[in-house]
Symmetry: C2
Subunit: 361 residues, 2 copies
């Protein structure tokens, strides 16, 4: 088992990484400091892991909220169902929410924990690669709005993150690949050596080679821990972790949530951000080719849907990273170094959008 710490003063918490953790009585009961526990999970994850979690917490009062599976249910209404369950179970301020599942479950459960009685504790038990390397760490919680992704939410740090890498065996391969997009992201924005390692090991990750998976999850969490500790509420450097996300949000919003997986959209978005960086003269064509090839080897898409540059720009403008009407994007100063910028010629963005989304409306 690997152990990291997110250093946030009074809100610091551990990340535990390793196989079999969610059924480990010592790990689970140590991480959940509450008598009353509301497990929030979904109808796909529950048959696989719920019984093990409940068994590991046999000395607690455990109630369960079962959500429907899928990004399209990541709504204020679904969050309200978790609140209803907490009220119905008469859980008080000392209760703890436990999010068992992927990013959607974690985001909804964490937001419900943030709002219930103005904030109760929660523990993340992510069961997807994307959640283990990204969404479970750092305290971003929330739901989507018809007007845009993650427009509603809270910064609310978990009490602990328990990443049972054994759960990745039950993950559909498409979701595993989508998670790899976020893994690649860390290399691109923060660690060129890690990107090199990924280029040598992407097949091992796809084959769920245990040491490779554990290393990748750990390295991503290390990078994220450092970024979050420096900028908890995303006033600055934390935005680097959004590489590909603004382009990706446009793809997801245009397709309707659920058609594209988040990681798939982010993958294409990263390619577009790299391409725009090339048009700005910051990276060369070799860098774009490296990103494209790594995405392809990871089994990810590299073509955006033909929604047209105009509509894409409109959807991007609703993304949260717009400041004062300016679309701020994460770009690459070089491989391994992201930069947040609203300071680029509009023409280059337009060319990038046309090249990937097409010019038709």
């Amino acid at each position: 088992m690997q152990r990291l710490n997110i250093d946030l003063g009074a809100r610091s918490y551990p990340i535990l990484i390793g196989p079999g953790l969610l059924e480990d009585v010592g790990v689970m009961s140590g991480a959940v400091p509450a008598r009353d526990v509301m497990v929030v999970t979904n109808d796909v994850v529950a048959p696989l892991y719920l019984a093990r979690v409940v068994r590991a917490l046999a000395d607690r009062r455990v109630e369960t909220t079962l959500l429907p599976d899928g990004e399209r249910y990541k709504t204020l209404e679904t969050m309200g169902r978790v609140l209803d369950a907490l009220v119905a179970a008469r859980m008080n301020r000392d209760a703890c929410v436990l999010a068992l599942g992927g990013g959607v479950v974690g985001d909804i459960a964490g937001f419900a924990a943030a709002c219930y009685q103005r904030g109760v504790g929660y523990v993340q038990v992510p069961t997807t690669l994307l959640a283990q390397v990204d969404s479970s760490v750092g305290g971003k919680t929330g739901v989507n709005h018809p007007g845009g992704k993650n427009l509603v939410g809270a910064f609310h740090q978990p009490l602990a993150v328990i990443s049972d890498t054994g759960t990745l065996c039950s993950l559909p391969v498409r979701e595993l690949r989508a998670g790899l997009a976020e893994v690649i992201k860390y290399g691109l924005v923060a660690d060129a050596a890690f990107l090199d390692w990924l280029e040598s090991n992407v097949e091992k990750l796809l084959a769920l080679d245990p040491p490779a998976v554990e290393y990748a999850v750990r390295r991503c969490c290390e990078i994220k821990a450092a970024v979050v500790a420096a900028d908890e509420r995303e006033h600055g450097a934390r935005a680097l972790l959004n590489l590909g996300h603004t382009f990706g949000h446009a793809i997801e919003a245009a397709a309707g949530y659920g058609e594209w997986l988040h990681g798939e959209a982010v993958g294409v978005g990263m390619l577009m951000a790299t391409d725009l960086s090339r048009r700005l003269g910051w990276v060369d064509g070799v860098a774009v080719q490296r990103v494209r090839e790594l995405l392809e080897r990871a089994g990810l898409r590299t073509s955006a849907p033909p929604i047209g540059a105009g509509r894409a720009l409109d959807l991007m403008a609703m993304d949260k990273k717009v400041l004062g009407g300016r679309i701020r994007l994460v770009l690459l100063a070089r491989i391994g170094e992201g930069v947040v910028s609203g300071d680029y010629p509009a023409a280059e963005l337009q060319q990038t959008l046309v090249a990937h989304f097409g010019s038709a409306a």
Copy 2:
């Protein structure tokens, strides 16, 4: 104009108190540090004050969300309407929400500001006595749940509180009286000399004598500012400000939100808390009589609805101040000194409940 400061480090903010402030261009534009402003108000307050606020912010882009008036609309759904309006107006992270109205408007608008894009700024412009002395200050935001009051919300401090005491002239007398209950509360839990002052000046306050009103609002805010600065998230001393609220919540919940005004229920609740303190031997019968007489002079109710002690206890148990199954109450060690305690004999609570709520189910 009086100026106080709530000292919360990076989250510190001013409270400005005086007549005519909401139409003062200097005050308003200084307090609202944003180009885009979403004014949240209701259909009673809007005809009275909205145009003045919009005029005072003529150099900003101002949009408005009009909510229906009343505690029964203080729901997650209504909060969602504010979010919808923010999205529809394409407001970004730099936008500012301005709550123009009483406690319900402030709680909903503040909660929406807490959740929109994981937190945007907001300014409180309270137009009721209750909101000016209590709910607008301290960052408690939220909505009700069918299972209990304020069960859903966030701690989110405003950027400023602008208390225009001139707006109290348009307040229905019943609401003015309800606000006085919270004013009396500050004397009871924190300042015996202020309670003496209230006993000499309650008629002046009911007549809206300007110096008396300004002094009372200021003194209440001073007390609240000190308490909130010491315990922002109500881990301890802040709970003192809930004197009468646990009993009061039972009254409000039993009556259905809206039948009793919050302050009316708190008034009776304070009388019950004082009565329980007497049964515990902490205060004498004279103290109970003082509270009863002051409530009566303020035109407030002193009799609880006959819902029965059992049902009252059940409703109180759902209140947030229950820890580990124990009902923690704010009681009086003496006039001017509140104490939070779960350490009292159940028999004395039961006697108090029967005396005020009756024994019938």
